[in-house]
């Protein structure tokens, strides 16, 4: 941290950094190519997703696809129910005209002049190009959020994620505290047992857990999603291993300072375990936010749907509403990205040792 402020690194120097004395070495070129490829690979799909989420359904289906949300203009023509797409057609006499396409038959398309709908034309499809305009289809976002109750799903997802993560962090850190700060017989055996549960695949316990949830009358309530996965062996393991590295003197100093066990846990161990807690928080948030299978099983009324279930609803058997799916996928991405950006600064280790010699 201190070094970063000492010799300021700007984005510019970072992006043109070279190996050694300013000359362009072949490894520089290789590294930049490799990194560029990496960025393309990781970031490309996300950018593509965001751009596509602003396209109209027609724009999405266009081939070859366009990068920017360019939508083909369509017009209402008297005598036709649906809006018709507009093309610039080159007529047989060589003149160009903006015509609306009624239908396409093989390589010929039937077109009509929007200005005077009586005139129809037959134009080979090679002689026409779609008329596009740059248009951001905000209705992709607005419509699901208003009409399909997506706001509700979003809220449900937020509730599930926040409450479940809070519970997970609390009970996992308490278990980790017990298994790391106290020394008792069988401590390692218990830890092995906890880790052992990792080896049981979720599909095996799906039915028993469902039965438990039903008999507790929790089906179709958010608690059914929150509670079953709250205690995670991974979380206990992660936090315990971190807490084991906290200096014992600190705990004993707190004991001498008349701190109760709860105070030692809450005021000494938890703040010091912050890096590990942040990691677990990120994991937990991502698990919960993206969880699909379990909510699908226990939530079957649409007012308790989470975002992932809501997204699934756009995917009918015959008709997939890609424009909505894309837009709502972007919505589901935003919170995770924000949380990651916020929590990642906690993931710096070594804080715990700075009070010692």
């Amino acid at each position: 941290m201190a070094d970063a402020t000492a010799n300021r690194v700007t984005v510019g120097t970072l992006l043109t950094a070279r190996r050694g004395n300013g000359k362009l070495h072949w490894t520089d070129i290789f590294t930049y190519l490799y990194l560029g490829f990496g960025i393309l690979l990781m970031f490309g799909p996300v950018v593509w997703l965001v751009l596509s989420s602003f396209k109209t359904p027609a724009g999405l289906l266009e081939f070859p696809p366009t990068m920017l949300p360019l939508g083909q203009i369509s017009v209402e023509v008297e005598g036709y129910d649906d809006p018709l797409p507009v093309f610039r057609a080159t007529l047989e006499d060589g003149t160009q005209k903006d015509l609306a396409q009624i239908r396409r038959i093989g390589i010929v398309s039937q077109m009509v002049d929007p200005a005077n709908p009586e005139n129809t034309y037959k134009v080979p499809i090679s002689d026409r190009t779609p008329v596009r305009e740059f248009r951001i289809a905000t209705e992709n976002y607005v419509e699901p959020l208003q009409r399909f109750n997506f706001g509700r799903y979003l809220w449900n997802s937020v509730v599930v994620t926040v409450v479940a993560t809070a519970i997970t962090l609390l009970i996992n850190s308490m278990a980790a505290y017990g298994l790391s700060i106290y020394e008792f017989r069988g401590r390692n055996a218990i830890m092995l047992f906890v880790i052992g549960t990792l080896m049981i695949p979720i599909t095996v316990i799906l039915v028993p857990v469902y039965l438990v949830v039903t008999s507790l009358d929790m089906v179709n309530s958010l608690w059914a999603v929150i509670l079953p996965g709250a205690a995670t062996p991974t979380g206990v393991f992660l936090l315990r291993q971190y807490m084991l590295t906290l200096p014992r003197d600190l705990i004993e100093a707190a004991r001498m300072d008349k701190a109760s066990e709860w105070q030692i846990y809450w005021r000494v161990v938890l703040p010091l375990a912050m890096p590990a807690i942040a990691v677990l928080a990120i994991f937990s948030i991502m698990w919960r936010w993206n969880d699909f299978l379990w909510p699908l099983i226990v939530l079957n009324r649409s007012e308790v749907y989470t975002l992932q279930l809501g997204l699934n609803a756009f995917q009918g058997e015959l008709d997939v509403q890609w424009h909505f799916i894309l837009a709502m996928t972007v919505v589901t991405l935003i919170p995770v990205v924000l949380i990651f950006a916020f929590l990642q600064r906690f993931i710096t280790t070594g804080i715990a040792n700075s009070g010692m010699k």
């Binding site: 003197d249 300072d257 005021r267 700075s354």
Partner: protein, 363 residues
């Protein structure tokens, strides 16, 4: 004012006995120092008193009530750890206030006490800093401050100065002595630095292998060690301990080893043929030109001239190292052969088991 009493305290970790039955009493307001070589159980004993470690048998009493089952938090003692153990996520102020907050003291009083202690230790300027941003000596003061604000029944220090450099250690040692003079209070202090022990203690407890070797005032231990271990441990540089055999010599006896022959009047407890360890401090060996009075002839293999004082390291047959300490400057070169005489009044004799026979022999 607090009195602490240990009665036949034993401690074992599984099959390993660490403390072998220790009896000790610490009087009210006394500054007691535990010294001993590494691994002798000093820290363990201190932690037993603090309540951080259970005992296997025996009793720990504070002010005449047994505290064996009472947890550390309720014994009312304060401890300064070797590693300082400051809470890294709290400011200096918070570090000092933590213990007081836990005992539900009103905020105003906490503030007053913290500021008072900070004033006394001259750390007022750093109250808002995190421990990370302090130097070793400053952290040390904060650790002590954290103990002081609690106004504990007794202070326990576990090698509090061992992480400091030599200069700072001397300075802090003086401050600790001043602190004790100022606030009184029972203090138990663990160290393996015997200069600290000698300068700070009202009473020194010498430990070895989990047993108390000797308890007494610093100069008492220096002048009248009860066994060879204490004799060798207290004092710097170490006392020379020479293995000799007693021989009859007229009315008296003579202690011999190689070319060394120390003629003494009869000493009760030594008969010819006994193995006797002869202890003589480096400063009590004189260089004598007077043939006939010398006890040993030794060759100097290293002479250290410090200006104000001189150390000579000598060897003789059957004696690997004989250290001599003389004030002033001695014109002695490496390889020179010296005739030496031991000061009889400052000679310590120990039997084959290391028990003292006499401290000082009349000549």
């Amino acid at each position: 004012m607090t009195q602490i009493e240990l009665k036949d305290v034993r401690k074992s970790y599984g099959a390993v006995d660490v403390i072998h039955g220790i009896n000790l009493s610490v009087d009210s307001g006394e500054f007691v120092v535990f010294v001993g070589p590494s691994g002798c159980g000093k820290s363990t004993l201190l932690r037993i008193i603090a309540g951080l470690e259970d005992i296997t048998s025996g009793a720990v009493e504070i002010d005449a009530s047994v505290v064996n089952g009472i947890p550390a938090s309720e014994r009312g003692l304060a401890m300064v750890f070797q590693s300082y153990a400051l809470y890294p996520h709290m400011s200096v102020y918070k570090n000092m206030a933590f213990g007081l907050e836990n005992s539900k003291m009103p905020k105003a009083e906490i503030d007053q006490r913290v500021r008072e202690a900070a004033e006394m230790l001259q750390i007022t300027d750093y109250l808002d800093r995190r421990p990370k941003a302090l130097s070793g000596g400053q952290r040390q003061r904060v650790a002590i401050g954290r103990a002081i604000v609690r106004d504990p029944r007794a202070f326990l220090f576990d090698e509090p100065l061992s992480n400091l450099d030599a200069e700072l250690r001397v300075a802090m040692r003086k401050e600790l002595a001043a602190l004790h003079a100022k606030i009184g209070g029972t203090m138990i202090y663990v160290t393996h630095d015997q200069t600290e022990a000698m300068t700070l203690a009202d009473k020194i407890v010498v430990l070895q292998g989990g047993v108390v070797e000797q308890v007494g005032k610093p100069l008492d231990l220096y002048n009248n060690p009860q066994n060879a271990f204490v004799a060798g441990f207290i004092g710097s540089p170490r006392m020379n301990l020479l293995k000799t055999t007693a021989e009859a010599d007229g009315d008296g006896i003579a202690l011999t080893a190689g070319n060394m022959r120390v003629a003494l009047p009869a000493v009760s407890g030594i008969s010819p043929g006994d193995t006797v360890t002869c202890g003589i401090r480096p400063e009590h060996i004189a260089i004598s030109d007077d043939t006939g009075l010398d006890d040993i002839t030794a060759k100097v293999f290293l002479s250290e001239q410090l200006g104000g004082e001189t150390y000579l390291y000598c060897e003789a047959d059957s004696i690997d190292n004989l250290t001599i300490h003389q004030p002033g400057q001695l014109p002695v070169n490496n390889g020179e052969v010296l005739k030496l005489r031991f000061d009889r009044a400052q000679m310590h004799l120990f039997d084959a088991d290391g028990k003292v026979i006499t401290n000082g022999v009349s000549s």
